[in-house]
């Protein structure tokens, strides 16, 4: 499915959008989460409601544009456009330290993306449209004509990779994330974790891997180790958080570490698992943020120690929370299991050490989530305010239920999704199995 219109002919930029197996489910996730987020903010956003929806829809447009762009220029424009609504969503409707968080978010992303723009412009002058004989931003042509020398590839990989790694975020570029996720309004956190981070991992899949394959092979150990550090570090830091939202935010660092590890395993299982896990993370973490938002609306605190014994007064809420937490941990029959299992298989196939370390990360995930669950839901009610908490309403539960159904579905029967992802990923992998890299075969994972 492709849409192509002239936009700025004098520089060869075209309004060129399309969908393939890599972007399809990310697009579905984007549109689904946006609707659920707007439902979730129905009763929680009372100030400047029009502006809130304006920015949310602008954000959605930007995200769809990023995932669907088949023109480097459109991609960059969308990548930048989506910064502005997020800046306002955090800055206007956010928590206490929202100003700091939103400016930090903006500057981190901007710093990465300007280098990407330099990379895009460099590629532009090395991509020629055979029909017109002029330079073009066409992504497909840029990919097919990307036979750069290895040192050029390295620089381009870094220029693009930095922008993506900040978005993912790859350790040690993650410091904007806990602030932004914590200060954003609930719906903002859901979109940040659910979709915005995926723009980084998607970028690696769409740009770095197919366009700079040799550089990718060279950077595999670097990125894999940073992902492993992210997995462990994110989990350990999440464990000691006092704030529920911050805990979920750090868990994202760990989860995205898995995604990156799977991508850079560069084999079928790893890539499929990592793409599926991107969707899974959107579902599970999105649901977690929504759930935290539910109690926050009642008590206006996110500190774990302010709760305790909540399961007694909010039994339905506690049950939903448990299911979502288990899906985030990756228990069998939930979505997290399928994704992480595939990633770990891929990681083992590429390097056993990576596999071993990553597997221990799965255990850590169980530790921080279950421990938080225990402290919030079990035990005696120590705070008087908690004894009168109203259980989750149907309206609040509806978006979460949708996500839970999806989580179980993917956990039990992921085939329809995997089958649509695999052809596109196979095409991507062929780049790495072509003869021109035969001298690198020793490095290639089998």
């Amino acid at each position: 499915m492709v849409e192509k219109l002239h936009w700025i002919p004098s520089i060869g930029a075209e309004w060129h959008l399309g969908v393939d197996g890599i972007s399809l489910f990310l697009l579905v996730l984007t549109t689904l989460l946006t609707v659920l987020c707007l439902l979730a903010s129905w009763h929680t956003i009372h100030e400047r409601v029009q502006e809130y929806h304006f920015f949310f829809l602008l954000l959605e447009a930007g995200m769809i544009g990023v995932f669907a762009a088949l023109d480097l220029f459109v991609f960059y424009v969308m990548w930048e456009v989506m910064l502005v609504p997020m800046f306002f969503l955090i800055g206007v409707w956010g928590g206490q330290r929202r100003l700091y968080a939103t400016i930090k978010f903006f500057l981190f992303t901007m710093a990465g993306s300007v280098l990407m723009l330099a990379g895009i412009l460099y590629m532009y002058f090395h991509t020629v449209d055979p029909e017109t004989g002029r330079n073009t931003f066409n992504l497909l042509l840029a990919t097919s004509q990307s036979n750069y020398a290895i040192d050029v590839q390295r620089w381009l990989f870094l220029a693009f990779g930095l922008a993506f790694a900040i978005k993912v975020p790859l350790f040690p570029l993650h410091t904007w994330l806990p602030d932004a996720h914590t200060e954003a309004p609930t719906a903002g956190s859901v979109i940040l974790a659910g979709v915005l981070l995926k723009m980084g991992t998607y970028g690696f899949l769409r740009f770095c891997l197919p366009m700079f394959p040799q550089a990718t092979l060279e950077f595999v150990p670097w990125i894999s180790w940073l992902s492993l550090i992210g997995i462990t570090y994110g989990a350990l830091v999440a464990m000691v958080q006092k704030d529920m939202k911050k805990l979920v935010a750090y868990s994202s660092v760990a989860h995205l570490g898995f995604v990156m590890l799977g991508t850079f395993a560069l084999n079928q299982q790893g890539l499929t698992g990592s793409l599926l896990q991107q969707i899974n993370h959107g579902i599970s973490t999105g649901a977690l943020f929504l759930l935290v938002g539910v109690v926050y609306e009642r008590r206006h605190t996110r500190i774990i120690a302010d709760y305790g014994g909540v399961a007694k007064v909010m039994p339905v809420y506690a049950a939903l929370f448990m299911i979502v937490a288990l899906s985030s941990i990756g228990l069998p029959i939930t979505n997290g299991f399928v994704g992480e299992f595939l990633i770990l298989m891929g990681a083992f196939a590429s390097n056993k050490l990576y596999g071993v370390i990553a597997t221990s990360g799965v255990i850590l995930a169980a530790v921080y989530l279950l421990w938080m669950y225990q402290r919030v839901f079990y035990g005696q009610i120590v705070h008087e305010e908690n004894s009168k908490l109203r259980d989750i309403t149907l309206f609040e539960a509806a978006p979460i239920l949708v996500l839970i159904v999806l989580a179980i579905w993917i956990g039990v029967y992921p085939d329809p999704i995997l089958a649509r992802m695999e052809p596109s990923l196979q095409l991507l992998l062929e780049k790495f199995q072509q003869g021109e890299f035969s001298q690198l075969q020793g490095v290639l994972p089998r």
Partner: protein
């Protein structure tokens, strides 16, 4: 001089006429109607701008080769008229609230515009100098307009001394080039340099002095010391006018003289310009980060933008000059607009323009807030705005010509700059308003702001028409 020549400089003639009528109207009608001469000026400048764009450029040269009549000249004539008209629109409120009652204000403004137009279409160094002085002398007066304000007087004096100083550099440079080549006409200079095998020390020295003179005029670091004080001391309307109009005029001169006439000698000055560009944008941005007064911040930011524009001169291709043109047009819209909002919001203040005076203004005055946000986003260079495409075109022209590192430094600089522009937006929208925030918002004023912000967005979505037109117009 024949009829064709007269028709060619019709826009300039209209502007001079406007200057004269404005002062007469002021004398005749000030007691009854304070806005009469403003109305005359806005109308006259708009007519001149439309004539400049609409008149077909039949011959490339006028007045026996002294004046360019190409598309580039037309575009910039129109731009200067628009900047002048916009400044005049902003002026009424400002002059009233600052209690400045000087009839010659609008007349001087029109004279400035005339000087800029001459700078933009001059084909002879001497004529360029005449235009420059016409503009500068009017500006010296306008900067010092607030005679009871020591900052204004100080700014005016500084501008006068350093302006005279830099004009001297320019004149010496021109004299030496005349000595070395034997002509002051751009075309003759260009031809002579193409034909000769090498250039003598006299010409090289001349080019060096010319470069210093230009660097002063565009306030490139390290020749920028005058500009923050002058920009801060000057009446805010004049600051807006100078930072857009005077800068654009100097850049057209730079494109015509260095980019085209002296292009053959570029191995002598491209390195210097590259360094100037890097230090200008970096120092401008870093200094802007620390400012608490928005007016002063915009002064430093305009230094930074001069640095980005220098990238276009360094790149030195047709595409780069068209890009610079696009940049200057976009920059005029967004910077004038930003100053315009600032003037309106600060009509009660003592003129400190501290960032805190903007607290919560986005909610209290939604139209002003929205336009200011668009101006700021455009100054950062976020798509879809004119500012984004200006930067994109300039930097891509630089990359095309192999100045990759310069482009990367420029791009990184725009990420740094994002901080101080964002601070304005976040103060306007994410802080609570304090004290009395009622202001008068004249209709025409608001319309001007809304039109410029719409133009910024339109240029940011559909830049193709303008870029294609500029590419065709570049000499």
């Amino acid at each position: 001089m024949n009829l064709n020549d007269v028709m060619g400089v019709l826009p300039e003639l209209i502007v001079i006429l406007t200057a004269l009528i404005a002062i007469i109207v002021d004398v005749a009608a000030r007691e009854r109607n304070a806005s009469a001469s403003q109305g005359v000026t806005v109308l006259g400048l708009l007519v001149a701008g439309v004539v400049a764009i609409a008149s077909p450029a039949e011959t490339a040269m006028l007045m026996s080769g002294q004046v360019f009549n190409d598309g580039f000249a037309s575009w910039f004539r129109a731009l200067f008229c628009a900047i002048g008209a916009m400044t005049a629109v902003f002026s009424l409120v400002y002059l009233k609230h600052r209690n400045i009652r000087l009839g010659e204000y609008y007349s001087l403004l029109a004279m400035c515009v005339f000087g800029m137009m001459v700078m933009g279409s001059a084909a002879n160094l001497l004529l360029f100098f005449v235009g420059l002085e016409t503009m500068s002398i009017s500006l010296y007066v306008l900067v010092g307009l607030r005679r009871d304000d020591s900052g204004s007087v100080e700014g005016s004096l500084k501008y006068l001394v350093l302006g005279a100083f830099s004009s001297a550099f320019l004149l010496y440079g021109m004299a030496l080039i005349y000595g070395g080549i034997g002509s002051l006409e751009y075309v003759v200079i260009g031809d002579a340099l193409r034909d000769s095998t090498g250039i003598g020390p006299m010409t090289v020295t001349g080019i060096g002095l010319l470069l210093v003179g230009f660097a002063f005029k565009i306030s490139a670091v390290p020749f920028h010391f005058w500009s923050p004080d002058v920009y801060e001391g000057a009446p805010t309307t004049i600051t807006a006018f100078m930072s857009t109009g005077a800068k654009a005029a100097a850049f057209v001169g730079l494109i015509r003289v260095f980019g085209i006439a002296l292009a053959e000698t570029n191995e002598h000055w491209v390195g210097v310009l590259t360094v100037l560009s890097i230090v200008t944008m970096t120092l401008g941005n870093v200094s802007a980060l620390r400012q608490t007064s928005v007016k002063r911040m915009l002064a430093y930011s305009s230094i930074a933008h001069a640095g980005y524009l220098l990238v276009g001169i360094v790149a030195g291709s047709k595409a780069a000059f068209a890009a610079s043109g696009f940049y200057l047009i976009g920059y005029a819209l967004m910077n004038l607009g930003a100053f315009g909002v600032l003037i309106l919001l600060n009509q009660r203040g003592k003129g400190d323009y501290s960032i805190d005076s903007l607290r919560g203004m986005g909610t209290v005055h939604p139209v002003l807030g929205l336009t200011m946000a668009i101006f700021m986003l455009s100054l950062i260079g976020i798509p879809p705005t004119a500012g984004f495409f200006g930067k994109l075109f300039v930097f891509s022209a630089a990359i095309e010509r192999g100045h990759l590192l310069l482009a990367i430094i420029g791009l990184l600089n725009s990420a740094v700059a994002a901080y101080y522009y964002l601070r304005v937006i976040s103060t306007m929208y994410m802080a609570k308003p304090e004290g009395d925030v009622a202001i008068t918002e004249p209709m025409g004023y608001k319309v001007a702001l809304v039109i410029s912000s719409i133009l910024i967005i339109v240029l940011g979505m559909f830049p193709d028409q303008l870029v294609a037109a500029l590419l065709k117009a570049v000499p």
